[in-house]
């Protein structure tokens, strides 16, 4: 067993877990945060994407112990109370989902993409950046639209804040 201390969505947690526990298992089973999904066993689908110390990673391809001391953000930590995060709101507005299984990973990936590329990101770059996230409903078109809209809006917000 290994002791893992980290913050999840801003809350400090410490748990004893088996050494082989994956971060996704730690989130879903130990902490009951089932918004992070598992869609494959080959590290390819991106349904499990969360942020560790501010960058998007596949939580199925990282041990909980490797996240010791880190800050983890999951889909449950994005909204402020009833107020959806702008990327969540854009996915709703542009119907960026069908069945919804890939959506938490898509949104966590999208927040990371917008952070790195800023408001001016073009469609080609968005599609390239989403290569690690698979949607089996083939709903990419509206997902890309949602990411683009959220990116543009983030620029507006940054300007408004200045």
């Amino acid at each position: 067993m290994v002791s893992v201390s980290l913050t999840v969505n801003g809350k400090a947690v410490t748990r004893e877990v088996e050494d082989r526990t994956l971060l996704v298992g730690f989130l879903r089973e130990t902490l009951g945060l089932t918004g992070t999904h598992v869609g494959c066993d080959t590290s390819q689908c991106g349904a499990c994407v969360v942020h560790v110390d501010g960058v998007a990673v596949k939580s199925c391809t990282m041990l909980a112990a490797q996240a010791d001391g880190c800050a983890v953000l999951t889909i449950e930590g994005l909204a402020q109370g009833d107020q959806l995060h702008p990327v969540q709101a854009a996915f709703r507005e542009h119907h960026g989902l069908q069945c919804g299984f890939c959506t938490p990973g898509m949104i966590m990936a999208a927040v990371d993409i917008i952070r790195r590329h800023g408001p001016g990101i073009d469609e080609t770059t968005i599609r390239h950046e989403l290569e690690g996230n698979i949607c089996r409903c083939t709903g990419y078109h509206n997902i890309v639209k949602a990411v683009k809209a959220a990116a543009e809006q983030s620029g507006g917000m940054a300007e408004a804040a200045e």
Binding site: R20, L22, V57, M62, D112
Partner: protein, 267 residues
């Protein structure tokens, strides 16, 4: 995944000591190859020795002749490094095309080179640029390092610490990727080194892993142009053949990627 135990030593020496005392232990860096392998139960290390946070394996520095990159630097940190972008832009671009953003955020240079997947990207850059691999024991020249697919000159428990990439006069890389994994089905790295030597390395295609295409090197030495390599075919009987592409197709891809790499280097 089989049971294992996780260790995070505070120094390179401590990491080496844990591995030396246990034949079944393995280093863990970004985990982007080892953890998927363990999840498939294709590997069952007794201990995972996490070296990803070791200061000795971090950092990027540039001199007038070379770019030196720590083995635990992630693909993302290499792709986005202004030093690498400035000195060897082709290397930064290669790193930006590995896998996907999440893989690039965790996967490391050292992990990729220790693993030596026949379809991995970095081996092509290391071999074409004639890089030097520095371990906790010695320095290894690229030409001596790669010894067939998933096989390298690294001994039991030897740790890759950093890689020294000589800055070339020009370089280009082009890969034809498998759309599902983005691993190379054929990737060609061409370079003219500081002393004028031309080197061409091919990944993704050969049965023996990364290799130098010497006929292409000679042709480009005489005439640096896409036309010079267009007619040169590698031997299909040495190429990989799988559901993604047979040997004849891969041999053809090598010529096409070589042409594109030469054009990219000129640009």
């Amino acid at each position: 995944m089989y049971e294992t135990s996780y260790k995070r030593p505070a120094s390179l020496a401590e990491a080496a000591a844990i591995i030396a005392a246990d034949d079944e232990a393995k280093f863990l860096a970004g985990g982007q190859t080892l953890l998927p392998t363990m999840k498939q139960r294709l590997a069952a290390p007794s201990q995972l020795v996490d070296i990803a946070r070791l200061a000795e394996l971090k950092g990027i520095s540039v001199s007038s002749e070379a770019v030196t990159i720590g083995a635990a630097m992630t693909h993302y940190s290499i792709a986005s490094s202004p030093e690498v972008q400035g000195a060897i832009p082709t290397l930064a671009k290669l790193a930006s095309g590995i896998g996907d953003p999440q893989v690039r955020h965790r996967g490391t240079l050292g992990g990729s080179l220790a693993n030596n997947d026949p379809s991995a990207d970095y081996p092509a850059a290391v071999l074409a640029l004639g890089a030097t691999l520095v371990t906790d024991r010695r320095e290894i020249a690229a030409d001596d390092y790669f010894q067939g697919m998933f096989t390298t000159a690294l001994e039991e428990g030897e740790i890759l610490v950093r890689v020294v990439f000589p800055i070339p006069r020009k370089a280009g890389y082009s890969k034809f990727l498998n759309p599902a994994s983005r691993y190379a089905m054929a990737g060609v790295f061409v370079a003219t080194l500081a002393d004028g030597a031309v080197r061409v390395a091919v990944t993704g295609a050969g049965q023996g892993g990364v290799f130098r295409a010497t006929a292409m090197e000679e042709a480009l030495g005489d005439n640096w142009s896409a036309d010079a390599v267009a007619g040169i075919k590698v031997d299909p009987s040495d190429m990989l053949s799988d559901i993604h592409g047979d040997a004849a197709y891969r041999a053809n891809l090598v010529s096409v990627m070589a042409k594109r790499a030469v054009v990219a280097a000129a640009g």
